[in-house]
Amino acid sequence: MSRKPYVRPVSKTGWYFKHPRYLRYMSREVTCIFIGAFALLMVCTLERLSKGQAAFDSFMAALTGPWSALGLLVILAFAVHNATSWFNVTPKALPVQMGEEFLAGKYIIGAHYAVWLVTTVSVLLFAGVF
């Protein structure tokens, strides 16, 4: 080891601003904050649901409005970002070997997007949106 090792100064808290690739990485990681917040919102919804109709209806009334709509829109954006970034790495996470060759990544990604579309439409149908 050298006597004066060069230690490259790296900010512990701001390193991800140094390169767009790092920023894209962080944008994928922070989706978990929004998934977690939404999970807690669902826990609260269940709590209100278990307390009866009056409690549930006032909760849903309190949820109606531009600010919660804006918050949910931000959560939706990060949820979509989690979905697309998750599906786009599936060829690396779930490689499919066929004989000597590996199935091209676009088919694995495409299959995930197709299932995502079917799932989304099914839930919307079940929820009575259409």
Binding site: C32, L63, I75, T120
Partner: protein, 113 residues
């Protein structure tokens, strides 16, 4: 070989992330419609109660909510390290505790419905 609890938390993270990828956008959309004043019929008290009263509905809600929670908890633990918070032990304790409490509360509310 040294024993590690990492595979448990990692598999919950992976399962939750996959489930969130397929389901989180559409579920958030349902709440967004409600916030916008166009609540879908499933978010009415009668319909949601009927869904959560059914054992299959309970299982679906339990699976979705708890896996979302454990996915977020594990990823947040790693992300807080990336943000410069170098106290992994404490961070892990806090995030996994929140996920555990959320899991217990979800179970409790589902049993009450």
């Amino acid at each position: 070989m040294a024993k590690s609890n990492k595979p448990i938390f990692w598999s919950l993270f992976a399962a939750g992330g996959t489930l969130a990828a397929f389901l989180a956008p559409v579920l958030v959309l349902l709440f967004l419609l409600a916030a916008w004043g166009h609540a879908p019929s499933v978010l009415s008290y009668a319909n949601l109660h009927a869904f959560a009263a059914n054992w299959l509905g309970k299982l679906a809600l339990l699976g979705v909510i708890t896996l979302f929670l454990w996915h977020a908890a594990h990823r947040l633990r790693v992300t807080l390290h990336d943000f410069g918070l170098r106290q992994d032990g404490r961070v892990a304790l806090v995030v996994y505790s929140v996920a555990s409490v959320g899991t217990v509360l979800t179970l409790l509310y589902l049993i009450r419905i």
